[in-house]
Symmetry: C2
Subunit: 153 residues, 2 copies
DNA sequence: TCATTAGTTCATAATTTACAGAACTAAAAT
DNA sequence: ATTTTAGTTCTGTAAATTATGAACTAATGA
């Protein structure tokens, strides 16, 4: 498994991006490798050796990614190794997660308006405005996706 | 400064949400307090005492939030204290950040397609699809915001 | 002039996290 | 039967993060 300079630095950049999304460094690098490698499917040892991470870290990372549905694996007859790859369905899920996150935030903000008693309604109005904006975006999302599906053809 | 049970637990929940967005625990709690407290503006000591965090942690948190533009303060004549509050303009910025983040991701994914040489074009096609979806959402966002502004009146 | 207020800065302590290395297991191969 | 393969699990620990308390500063007040 030999990678170009560009591939190596892209793994790091994507890794940092995913660290900021709450993944452990090693886990984020494994995702990066599976994303940028020339072969879509890699074995345990290839991942461990290419990224220079221990077997335990590799095992931990792969199981974490399997459990969270970010990767999957295939096997081949007469070959005991598993071949790991990124779940391609996961791209849309990833976007869905961002939307869910905004939904979660919006739920919290709605509760904020319920529990606090502000003398000055200006602050409440601004917050209400933002809440309704998030609701609006959420509601329009399905039709937006629809619109995109049609534009593809 | 006395807070209801609901306010206290909402501070923690919002705090955890913001920890996941990369804020330090104490910083996230300060944001939560300023968000849910009945008074919009609180002093250094009120924040420190209500959250039970040391003066140094409070100082650090407030300066961090000031520097990142999340809070601001006012003062009153003959009163040396500063009164801190959440910047309300910040709500829209927060949404903007999420969109920028998706843009960043999309930039990385475009580079992925450039650097990897996949024998099987199926994976490339799926990724390309997602990239074009993110571009589509980004392009439609201004008109979506426009639509919302109009629907408000 | 001395005390108080409203913070800031620094050294350090307490957690937390992230990983390595070694020992282990279960199945397959020789 | 024992060796190899393909991992897993279990400590230990280095490093990073986060917060504390004490000492400090600069301005105001008595």
């Amino acid at each position: 498994m030999t990678l170009s300079e560009q591939q190596l630095s892209l793994i790091e950049e994507f890794g940092i991006y995913q660290e900021n999304n709450g993944f452990q460094p090693a886990v984020a690098r494994v995702m990066g490798l599976l994303l940028v490698s020339d072969r879509a499917e890699l074995t345990f040892d290839e991942i461990s050796e290419t990224l220079n991470i221990s077997k335990s870290a590799t095992s931990n990372a792969l199981n974490m990614l399997l459990n969270t549905g970010h990767i999957e694996y295939t096997t081949f007859p007469g070959d005991r190794k598993r071949y790991f790859r990124i779940k391609s369905s996961n791209w849309r899920d990833l976007f869905g997660k961002k939307m869910e996150d905004l939904s979660h935030l919006n739920g919290l903000l709605k509760r904020v308006l319920e529990v606090r008693k502000r003398e000055n309604p200006v602050y409440d109005a601004k917050l209400n405005d933002f809440i309704s904006f998030l609701d609006f975006v959420k509601n329009r999302m399905p039709s937006l996706i629809d619109e995109w599906e049609k534009s593809k053809t």
